[in-house]
Symmetry: C2
Subunit: 388 residues, 2 copies
């Protein structure tokens, strides 16, 4: 038997890029759309308007042609100035990126270093902020993609807000669409997201939304390509400052329409259900969760049992099933695998991926009741499915 027959094309189960549905692919095929035309301006305006509720803000997010890291840079260069004191949560590769960005741009950085897999505590952050004094901004993730920890922004940020009036800037690149974001209600000043995550698009667009307060307090420092004030000038008409990635914008429009049709509440429930099923799978075949206390709804990070090499599992999943899971990075290399259910991943896609994982684990020294994982996932999915 040629295992590859099971799948006829690559299947993406990594935390971005996520699968692109045909409707979006088709929308992106309209390459003759001119970006300086009334037709395109209308699409841009509709994109901004449809994006805003995902950020939970009355303000329109800015769309940037860049990777998510470009969006993170936009937050730093528009909201901080050299010498500003900032606090950064570092609980993995992306917390590390906030730290590097802020240091690179001359901020004075205090870091809350977490053991990987942990989530920050409000009290630790407030202590650090008090110790630093005159903290201008706090930078953190909603979802630390390298560990799969979700930082429970909905309770963490309001807790911090009781004693911190500075800017709060949240990297939601891998959480938006999977976890609800209500930046206005929670008094968050900037939220960054990226196209190739919850939006089911290829990479190339980043989104950033600012609070009124952030818009009113843009910092003084040189910036050009990521100058948000410049982008905001033409936003009401749908004009971007620079040439936008027009085909990706057309895809975004299609993606947002699909999300709107199901409704955002359904979207969050869907991701919650997918994550619960993945956790049930792991439990049923004796894989420990890497972040049991606060696992993400975007991806599930599973520890490899002793004697099973996670890097080899990831490689074999690719080779035998064209299934692209993510492995562990740095200290987690070989020790975990990260399974993503972010974006346009259906219940049956999920079962496909988990099934492939069982095949590979069974052949790589893990001893378990073969099939029990998928069974448990199916039971969990059915429990959370509306019955006709």
């Amino acid at each position: 038997m040629n295992d590859k027959e099971l799948f006829t094309q690559n299947r993406l189960f990594c935390p971005g890029p996520t699968p692109v549905p045909d409707q979006i692919l088709t929308a992106m095929s309209d390459t003759s759309m001119y970006h300086r035309s009334d037709e395109f301006y209308k699409i841009s305006r509709e994109c901004s308007a449809m994006l805003a509720p995902l950020f939970g803000s009355k303000n329109l997010p800015i769309m940037l042609t860049s990777s998510g890291s470009g969006g993170l840079e936009a937050a730093v260069v528009n909201l901080t100035a050299p010498g500003d004191k900032v606090v950064v949560v570092n609980g993995g590769k992306f917390g590390e990126r906030w730290e590097k960005l802020n240091r690179g741009y001359g901020c004075e950085v205090s870091v809350l270093n977490l053991s990987w897999g942990q989530s920050p505590k409000a009290s630790d952050l407030l202590d650090l902020i008090q110790k630093q004094g005159q903290t201008k901004a706090l930078f953190l993730q909603a979802n630390e993609t390298s560990t799969g920890a979700y930082y429970r922004i909905e309770t963490l940020v309001p807790e911090i807000r009781k004693n911190f009036k500075g800017l709060i800037i949240v990297d939601c690149i891998s959480s938006l669409c999977a976890h609800e974001m209500r930046m206005d209600d929670w008094e968050i000043d900037a939220v960054v997201a990226g196209s190739q995550k919850g939006f089911g698009l290829p990479p190339g667009l980043a989104f950033i939304s600012l609070s009124d307060r952030a818009w009113g307090n843009l910092s003084a420092r040189p910036r050009f390509y990521f100058d948000l004030a410049r982008e905001r000038k033409g936003q009401a008409e749908g004009r971007s400052a620079w040439t936008p990635a027009s085909t990706l914008t057309l895809g975004l429009h299609a993606a947002l329409k699909m999300m709107n049709e199901s409704g955002l509440n359904e979207l969050y429930k869907h991701h919650d259900r997918m994550a619960r099923a993945s956790r049930a799978f792991a439990k049923a075949i004796q894989l420990k969760l890497y972040c049991p206390e606060s696992p993400s709804n975007s991806l599930t990070t599973m520890c490899m049992p002793d004697g099973v090499d996670g890097s080899k599992v990831v490689k074999e999943l690719r080779r035998r099933y064209q299934a692209f899971f993510a492995g562990g990075q740095d200290q987690l290399k070989g020790k975990v695998i990260r399974y993503s259910h972010l974006g346009f991943v259906s219940v049956f896609d999920l079962i496909n991926g988990l099934s492939a994982l069982e095949f590979v684990l069974a052949d790589n020294g893990h001893s378990f009741d073969f099939g029990a994982g998928v069974k448990a996932a199916m039971v969990e999915l059915r429990r959370n499915t509306a019955r006709p």
Copy 2:
């Protein structure tokens, strides 16, 4: 008669985005390609290798996920430091952009202001450089897209090089693929290009190639997303620092393969032939060229006769024929139209566009021998076509 029937979809005759051939569209449809996979690394490496000859350099260009303006920013932030003395040629909107970028990033800028449509003279530039003293870098366009002037880099730069040893940085966003670039031979230190121009791709990628000297003298200033040294680290393996616009990269690979099949000399000859035909068209129906002395091979800028409103012509071309020409900007608004023949535009596409233009001019107060323009273009095209 419904004029719109002539064309069944938008036709792009503006200087970017340019038409995307089906082969490229198909290549971009492989959305399940993972950007951290051997397959994608190979494609990235092949893209860099195929790009290099277009820049005329032994060095590999860096691919950035951004608009062309992001590439311009990369040149400025990697090669200048605050306080550096630079000279900028400003002969239109894009020269203006070099000026704004350099001023925004704290350089001391001397500007050679040209009347729009003019090309810079080496002697004027050398005078300015001598007057400024200790000029670190000279920034100019190869092709000023807003006017359609080509700055004859192949003679201008070697002339300047006789008396200037500083950095020479050329925006080739709208010239690459249409005009030959030999940055090593001409001792150019940085060349910037963009995907939606000569490469026949949608917007979203920028390219920048540096000379050995530039790589060896990167400036000290904060940068992150556009940090070229960071991008260069993984380049030999095909790894980008940030998540690349993967579908556009697949399209780029297809575009470069197509160019290689015809050969780069054929590519430059094609653009030269298209430009000659467009100029013959203009002459035959009494439209003056805006830059008669040094017109670009990427686009032809034609002056509107007295009494003909160029803005209205551009609008009608869109409404009646879905043909997207570019109008004049700022002081040229209404006075010129810009007709692009850059990228994957065939002889017959060219005739389509010129034909549409004759229809609209005839209905907007220009009196000429209807059909004579296309006839002249056809004669010129045949003159420069290999006979079987």
